[in-house]
């Protein structure tokens, strides 16, 4: 690895969103050499994604957003300051600094029929001749082992494949500096190994990588610089003092012994969606007692969400028996996988209060407090970080004090603090004699909170 002049240097004085009282970022300096790996660790809401957007020239978008910073890039000095607007050319900047967003789908145009065409979007806009595009895409796909994906419809890719395709597209566009926001989050072991291998390869070829991450995982091995971001302020962590908590697995909480009252019972149940002939789940036997936390594990497509939706009364049983200790639909609360589907009010408080009788609404501050959301009551849910947004959706469920709490992939986007809050919430529901059923691919979390884990198989396999 050659260590010459830095490819990209930043002295960031401060950044503030329009209308905010505080600076979101302040006092951050970075210097990136070819082939280097810089890791920036920070909790949800620490300003990681904002920092990424500033580095890749997507912020500030307009005069209302204040940035004071000096960039040294490709021998040019670019100075942002108050009262002095600098208009970044997004295409020119992206040629030097590329960004992989946390949600990799955002990098993809989403309008092409095949993965090969999706990869070509950037080259097409640059006017690269067709034969040359073919050659470059084929070569890259060969290098990354993406050959079998090229003819696929991008809509049908799994999360890990989407991330790989987005990274491949980013690589084709060929920027010497890449900013990657949580490149391994939510990937299973095989997919994260492929992404990590690709990153190593890019480094070896001289690309400078900046990794934004909330948990220290396999992708940070061999980092040249490690920085910790706290409330938008940066501190350097010397190599030998790296003591950032890994996502540790704590012993399950055995305080609660399951009672005898069954709150939910499926026996020989067959579940499916209206309008689809095939059943999503067959032969399901599942019993959840009061005071018990049960995990639902299984690969994608094994019908975990279907079980939760049926238990919540959203889907009807096709065959078999469903018994509930609570009244059907009432006393059951479900946190959906995508919290955005549930949120529609313009402040957190109004969101949680919606449709509640006045006597319940007075408990809102208490519920928000217990979720670590105190002080966000008047914020728009969409202006909160992804983790907090999920907790707001959880608040709308908890305020109704469900006897049976159903959680669909609740750990997605949660940082260490968020996970702690979630564990506490589960404990409280169990304490008051309720039950919790969690569907998750996060085995570590399930082992930590669930008394037992029910494993599910995809229907096609189970039938054989």
């Amino acid at each position: 690895m050659s260590r010459g002049n830095p490819l990209f240097e930043v002295e960031l004085e401060r950044f503030r969103y329009s209308g905010d009282g505080d600076d979101t970022l302040a006092g951050i300096g970075l210097s990136l050499e070819a082939g280097s790996l810089t890791v920036i660790v920070g909790d949800s809401g620490s300003g990681k994604s904002t920092l990424g957007a500033v580095l890749c020239g997507m912020l500030p978008r307009h005069d209302g957003e204040e940035l004071e910073a000096v960039f040294e890039i490709q021998g040019q000095t670019i100075r942002h300051g108050t009262g002095k607007s600098v208009r970044i050319d997004p295409v020119g900047w992206a040629r030097h600094v590329g960004m992989l967003p946390q949600d990799a789908r955002h990098y993809l145009s989403g309008v092409r029929e095949t993965v090969a065409e999706e990869l070509a979007v950037g080259l097409e806009n640059a006017g690269v001749p067709r034969a040359q595009m073919h050659a470059r895409i084929t070569a890259l796909a060969h290098r990354l082992g993406l050959g079998e994906l090229l003819d696929r419809d991008p809509e049908t890719l799994s999360g890990g494949q989407e991330r790989l395709v987005a990274l491949a597209a980013l690589t084709l566009d060929g920027a010497p500096v890449l900013i990657l926001d949580e490149p391994l989050a939510g990937l299973d072991a095989a997919a994260s190994a492929r992404v990590a291998a690709l990153l190593q390869q890019l480094r070896a070829e001289g690309t400078a990588l900046v990794l934004l991450t909330r948990a220290v995982d396999g992708s940070v091995d061999g980092a040249d610089h490690m920085l910790r971001l706290r409330a938008g302020r940066c501190e350097s962590v010397p190599g030998e003092q790296i003591s950032i908590p890994r996502n540790e697995v704590s012993a399950p909480d055995r305080r609660h012994s399951p009672g005898t009252a069954a709150l939910l019972e499926f026996s020989a149940a067959e579940l499916g969606y209206p309008g689809s002939a095939a059943s999503a789940v067959t032969g399901l036997d599942l019993l959840v007692h009061a005071g018990e936390c049960v995990g639902l594990a299984g690969p994608n497509g094994s019908g975990k969400s279907t079980v939760l939706k049926t238990a919540a009364g959203l889907l009807n049983l096709r065959a078999g028996v469903l018994r509930q200790g609570t009244k059907r639909g009432a006393g059951v609360g479900l946190l959906l996988q995508n919290p955005a589907d549930q949120l529609f009010e313009r402040t957190v408080h109004r969101e949680v209060a919606f449709g509640l009788p006045r006597s319940t609404a007075v408990k809102i501050p208490e519920v928000l407090e217990s979720l670590g959301l105190a002080g966000t009551g008047e914020t728009h849910p969409y202006e909160l970080p992804a983790a907090a947004r999920r907790l707001v959706a959880l608040a709308t469920v908890l305020i109704r004090r469900p006897a049976l709490l159903l959680l669909d992939e609740p750990t997605e986007a949660l940082d260490a603090g968020g996970l702690e809050v979630l564990r506490a919430v589960i404990g409280k529901v169990l304490d008051r004699g309720g039950a919790v059923l969690i569907a998750s691919h996060d085995e570590g979390f399930l082992i930590g909170v669930a008394g037992r884990i029910h494993r599910m198989q995809p229907v096609a396999q189970a039938a054989r």
Partner: protein
């Protein structure tokens, strides 16, 4: 290679220009037998592509109300015609009125059926690529492609939101207030999430060079041939000159 040659398929513009020429000439000629022949031809083509049922169904959804409207306006209340078939109060059914309604109905019918047939025969990705490779502004192709791919996605999100709201156990009131509430519950999360998603995507779209400032290319090859190119030119000429040739005599007569 992953892009197979697709010989025997038509360039989307060939289909569109042919349809436009047929509609223009048929409308200009205004002969019932020509309209009927074109309608039959369209159905035949649809049957060859195994889409006749769909064409009839979609066409009927649009045409039945339109024909009803024509019948009401011209067939039942005609103020001009001399051959009165029946008259009662404001109703006045005349032969001329019914003929007018029939001719207008056929005119609309040809437009609808030919247009629907076009959208059934054209591959939408080919259409997008053709627009991208044409001299239209580079924004047009993306907007077309993005809308067509968003439609099923938003419809699916709409259903997911309906489920999420049902979960919150919010009682639905009847009457206008209940209607208003359900519209708000359904539309606000949909608009919020989709507008936010659009905003998130736009920065990356710009980073990938959209909209192209200079010449741009497409990886996808649109099926085309010199013969088709020639057919397009002829059809374009026929679309303009056909109606002029058919209608010019009537202008002289009127003038």
């Amino acid at each position: 290679m992953h892009q197979l040659p697709r010989t025997g398929r038509l360039h989307p513009f060939t289909v569109l220009v042919l349809a436009a020429a047929v509609v223009a000439i048929t409308t200009a000629a205004g002969r019932w037998w020509l309209h009927t022949a074109v309608l039959a031809g369209c159905l035949l083509l649809a049957a060859r592509a195994k889409r006749a049922g769909k064409l009839v169904r979609l066409g009927a959804v649009i045409l039945v109300p339109a024909w009803g409207s024509h019948l009401l306006i011209h067939g039942l209340i005609d103020t001009g015609g001399g051959h009165v078939l029946a008259a009662a109060g404001p109703l006045r059914i005349t032969t001329e009125g019914l003929v007018t309604a029939g001719q207008l109905g056929l005119r609309t019918g040809v437009l609808v059926v030919a247009g629907l047939l076009c959208s059934m025969l054209i591959d939408r990705h080919d259409l997008v690529a053709a627009v991208d490779l044409s001299s239209a502004p580079p924004q047009a192709g993306y907007l077309l492609a993005a809308t067509l791919s968003l439609l099923p996605r938003l419809a699916q999100r709409q259903r997911a939101i309906g489920q999420a709201q049902a979960l919150r156990g919010i009682p639905l009131a009847a009457g206008p207030r209940g209607w208003w509430r359900s519209v708000r519950l359904r539309s606000v999360p949909l608009v919020l999430s989709s507008v936010q998603d659009a905003a998130d995507r736009s920065a990356y779209l710009a980073a990938r060079g959209f909209p192209a400032k200079g010449a741009h290319t497409r990886l996808r090859e649109v099926p085309d041939s010199p013969a088709q190119c020639w057919v397009r030119r002829v059809a374009l000429g026929a679309m303009v000159l056909g109606p002029v040739a058919l209608l010019a005599p009537t202008w002289v007569g009127q003038g």
